[in-house]
């Protein structure tokens, strides 16, 4: 509930940053000042100027255009990851939390085992099985993200399944699936939403990390992590090459984590 007592600054600042980033990225889908992959040998390492607002990289590509496209790629990968994680996490958490018993024990121990690995490490294993590429990264990270969502959903289901309204629905003749997904699931949305925000952050960072290691998005496609990895060679010659993609990552993560925090407090 929004109470007039104290303004939720996290919400305002987080919302503003996220909103601006989204506008930046959406514009990048339709319009970039230059073709992000067009090389201009005469503009190699061009500094910051009106012509190239963020300068140019080692091939003379416009960094602003590449950051715009790259942020879009990173965001899409993160969104895909979170979608896979949430979708399967909800199903797994709902089934284990609602039915409990031996199935719950088995699935949750497997879940714990997966959870014990750092998500990047786990994603590396999947990448080595699936090969590298954008779609493979989405799938690998998505699988690595399932356990955390499953846990959250499971604990909410355990809390709700003994409530009287669930008993009431059973008395009225509702089936298990209907109780799970129509009656209980909407009650997990507030918790789920802030978990999605945090998951989004982790996904952005994980994608950037994997692309930085060179196993994520493949060149010449732009991605923020990829750009950082290319920029490290020229860190002193062209610091702007590393600073701008890094700045965009920071703003993206900061915006989402402030929003997630604000949503948690609104509960």
């Amino acid at each position: 509930m929004k109470s007039g007592k104290k303004k939720n600054y996290n919400f305002i600042v987080g919302g503003t940053i996220t909103g601006l980033m989204l506008i930046f990225i959406i514009i990048g889908f339709f319009y970039t000042p230059y073709d992000p992959n067009a090389m201009d040998p005469s503009a190699k390492f061009a500094g910051i100027s009106l012509k190239h607002l963020m300068g140019c990289d080692n091939f003379g590509r416009d960094i602003l255009s590449r950051v715009m496209k790259g942020a879009g790629t990173t965001l899409s990968v993160a969104a895909g990851t979170v979608f896979i994680g949430t979708f399967f996490g909800i199903i797994l958490g709902a089934v284990t939390g609602y039915f409990g018993g031996i199935l719950d024990e088995i699935l949750m121990r497997v879940n714990d085992a997966i959870f014990a690995f750092p998500s990047i490490l786990l994603a590396l294993v999947f990448i080595s099985l699936l090969g590298s590429g954008t779609y493979q990264v989405v799938i690998a990270l998505g699988i690595a993200f399932i356990p955390s969502f499953a846990r959250i959903v499971r604990s909410e289901f355990i809390k709700c399944k003994n409530m009287d309204y669930v008993k009431n629905a059973r008395l009225q003749g509702a089936g298990h699936l209907r109780i799970m997904f129509v009656h209980i699931l909407p009650n997990t949305f507030t918790v789920l939403l802030s978990a999605i925000m945090i998951g989004f952050n982790n996904a952005v960072l994980a994608e950037a990390g994997m692309s930085f290691l060179g196993i994520g998005v493949q060149p010449p496609q732009a991605s923020l992590g990829r750009m950082l990895s290319e920029a490290q060679t020229y860190l002193f010659r062209a610091p702007n090459y590393a600073i701008f993609p890094g700045l965009v990552i920071i703003l993206m993560v900061l915006g989402f984590s402030l929003l997630g925090d604000a949503l948690k407090r609104e509960e």
Partner: protein, 249 residues
């Protein structure tokens, strides 16, 4: 009153729960919650069930509703008994609007189309003494008494013939209690509902019920009409209960 047929017959009902084991190798005990409970209920009767906390009142209700496993025999005429719960805060889904909550029983029964359902919900809201505008509100916007009215409305949507009210007023304050009891009494008369009224408040039971059963430690220690039980009780425990409630006869 003419002799009416039984709407509910319970014979030698036993319910036991597994004791929660403290260790892996400890022997598990079964706790007998209901011991050989038998009674029957006439159509259109308001039957009171009184007993202290932990005497198995709610367990009996759950067994009748089929929510827990039991031994013995329960025969009911109506196939959809409904229940009103003690806590009006937990028995309405907080994520759904009142209108949705009231439509759900009709939807589950494969009832009429959306427009007709809304009409039924409107009628039922008015019947339980609420305004039709309540359909657009969420449960947390209602007071305890209003919530309990919505619960009653929800329980009546499938037109059950037997209603089980598990301490329907004990979470409410006294003035609201009286209103809810009045509502139940009116619905009982208007719709010919049979009500199994579970309570620990002897005064409320006296006001509401035709017959009453006293329960102690999972057993029915006394049953009969209200007059019989209140004025000519045979069991000592019933006397203690009446005395504790400040009813001196």
């Amino acid at each position: 009153m003419t002799e009416q047929k039984d709407i509910l017959t319970v014979s030698s009902l036993c319910v036991s729960f597994q004791d929660r084991s403290k260790g892996l190798f400890q022997k598990k005990n079964r706790i007998q919650v209901l011991k050989n409970v038998s009674f029957s209920m006439k159509e259109g009767e308001v039957l009171g069930l009184v007993g202290e906390s932990g005497s198995g009142k709610s367990t009996l209700a759950k067994a009748i509703l089929g929510l827990i496993p039991y031994e013995g025999k329960i025969t009911q005429v109506s196939s959809y008994p409904q229940m009103i719960f003690q806590d009006p805060y937990g028995s309405l889904n907080p994520a759904k609007k009142v209108g949705w909550i009231l439509e759900e029983p009709l939807r589950l029964k494969g009832g009429p189309d959306s427009a007709k359902r809304k009409e039924r919900v409107r009628e039922m809201l008015i019947r339980v003494g609420l305004d039709e505008k309540f359909a657009d509100r969420y449960p947390n916007q209602l007071s305890g008494g209003q919530r309990q009215r919505v619960c009653i409305a929800g329980a009546l949507m499938q037109e059950p013939r037997l209603l089980i009210a598990d301490e329907p007023v004990s979470a409410l304050d006294v003035t609201i209690q009286a209103q809810i009891l009045e509502l139940l009494e009116r619905l009982h008369k208007e719709m010919g509902l049979s009500i199994l009224f579970i309570s620990h408040d002897l005064r409320v039971v006296y006001q509401m019920c035709d017959n009453v059963m006293i329960m102690k430690g999972g057993e029915l220690v006394e049953q009969g009409t209200v007059e019989e039980v209140y004025f000519h009780h045979k069991n000592e425990y019933t006397g203690n209960l009446l005395q504790a409630a400040g009813i001196h006869i």
